[in-house]
Symmetry: C2
Subunit: 343 residues, 2 copies
């Protein structure tokens, strides 16, 4: 059996309260402090966190509910969030929603049952209803990467619309006008699509509906199928904006399979600086999300919310995502003139 605080009491002859106080960093006469430390070492004592939680009502555990843990994106986010939280003595309970809203609702309930102190959430759903159990239990949640239809929650994202707009501006700056977009109807997909439209409108370019490919959820299949369709068009696009990592992978699969060269035959611009865009040839030009900042800023806000409750209004942090130049976009000659670098 593991040693308890009572064993320390028996060993030192001190009262429980004194020992507890020492354990929690209170002031204890140095003579007693020494006694306690000796006893702890001798008995190899470790506080029972469960007992502690029962009385403090704090588990020092954060739930990490994520739409799809198998994605490289989630893994990197998880890495940074867990580093931040561990450093501060918090554990992380992981719940994979597997791209399923039912599962996501179930995961929130699970976290409530497990009495986590707070939830970090990369959501699959856009409707806030599923968060009710956490709300009722007084457990705060911070949204990462994706918003929901409610401004009651803290939220850390990038400015998706603006980032996509800059990416599209970039293509237009290189002379492209036939630009297709592949997006999902999820939050990020839609936001990025909006940015694309804004850029095209600004440039006075009409967007044929055939250049707009979408599906309910981001996936490699979406990228693959969409690209295959685009390649069959009589007037092929000269450039494609993909609004997500997995979608880019699918697009590349299709190009490889069809023997289409990038950027010679078609230019590409995507999102997320994960391992693949670094490895592929040509290097993908992309919008790089600040992964570590998203994770640590989200965790920081969550801990603050846990400490300070509703004493401050919901935070909505929008981080800047830089466009990183690769080799996947080429110049288009317009009117015999190389239109390069209009930007």
């Amino acid at each position: 059996m593991a040693a308890t605080i009572k064993d320390i009491k028996a060993e030192t002859g001190l009262g429980l309260a004194t020992i507890s106080k020492y354990l929690n960093g209170g002031n204890v006469r140095s003579e007693n402090r020494q006694k306690i430390e000796e006893a702890i070492k001798k008995l190899d004592y470790h506080p029972n966190e469960t007992a502690r939680s029962l009385v403090t009502k704090r588990t020092r555990t954060i739930g990490f509910v994520v739409n799809n843990i198998a994605s490289n994106f989630s893994g990197v986010l998880l890495q940074h969030a867990s580093a931040y939280l561990h450093e501060r003595g918090y554990g992380m309970m992981i719940c994979d929603s597997n791209l399923d809203e039912k599962q996501e609702a179930e995961n929130i309930r699970f976290c409530v049952e497990k009495q986590v102190d707070g939830i970090l959430l990369v959501t699959a759903s856009r409707e806030p209803g599923f968060l009710a159990p956490a709300d009722k239990a007084g457990i705060p949640a911070v949204l990462l990467d994706r918003e929901i239809k409610s401004d009651a929650f803290d939220c850390v994202t990038i400015d998706n619309s603006n980032a996509a707009e800059r990416a599209t501006d970039y293509l237009i700056g290189y002379g492209h006008r036939r630009i297709a977009v592949i997006h999902s109807e999820e939050y990020t997909g839609n936001e990025r699509y909006t940015g694309y439209l804004a850029s095209m409108k600004k440039a006075g370019i009409n967007v044929p509906y055939k250049y707009i490919c979408s599906a309910h959820i981001h996936s490699a299949e979406l990228g693959y199928n969409s690209m295959m369709k685009l390649l069959k068009l009589k007037e092929r696009p000269t450039a494609v904006l993909t609004t997500n990592y997995e979608v880019s992978l699918g697009v590349i699969m299709a190009l490889n399979e069809q023997g289409i060269r990038c950027p010679e035959d078609i230019s590409l611009i995507g999102f997320d600086e994960l391992i693949l865009p670094m490895v592929m040839k040509p290097k993908l030009t992309l919008v790089a999300q600040p992964m570590e900042e998203i994770a640590s800023e989200g965790a920081r806000i969550l801990l603050k919310r846990i400490e300070e409750g509703n004493s401050f209004p919901p935070q909505r942090v929008s981080l800047y995502a830089a466009l990183k130049q690769g080799e996947s976009v080429r110049d288009i000659i317009v009117n015999g003139k190389n239109n390069c670098r209009l930007l």
Copy 2:
């Protein structure tokens, strides 16, 4: 405040013990059962898992300690393990060791402190010492994917040596004799290296030391640097065996950068059927580890160990990993004869 069992008592007039018994699936008169169920619904009662844990000494939480959570490999393993465990009411506490043995030891202590019921471990270290705190606390651990130097622990791996041997046999069967290997000195890297050597020996092929590239840890850098070195050799290898996912990525980077074609100029064979090998052109020929089986088999053994203690000996499960043919290996003509498909 959340409702407690006492509120149910007040609502129903029954004793605490009866209610507790109902909660734990015991026999209760159907009349009382109904009363309790009504009260639970009315008060929106949820058992306090912390209080429960304090008396049962079970947290229904499993620690998942992983060498590197950012890797796609870990993400997929995590996905399957978490699905298996959640289904059975267990939560998963994630601890990233970030390829650091100190951090790994720290993670084990953290899990012990948090009183997890068991640990699923993809280890960075090979020495079993760091597991002592778990052992002392009576917390079982199951090793996934990688063994350590101790046969006291349950362990689920693939037969790494044999898989690498088959992969090398395959290359030799296609006529290759100048075959290089890139491996790490971690468990899996070494095992796979051993298999490579066995195959080469079996075929009577002498291995020049320049064809053996290694480093302490698997990484894309290892793959990249090794491949760059191999390309500079006077007698280049005609094929390369990479013993890990990240290493393969690095190799591909180097080939792309140098404009070396695969499989025309060099053949490649790797490990792990994750997203990249599916997307790249040519499709990588590889050893596919049964990810879901590794995870669920490991979790199954762990839960059994938690239930039944040391009533059965340490399990050492070695799963079969199939070689999946891609397009990254070409035939080599030997003595004017196409040596294809000797296997």
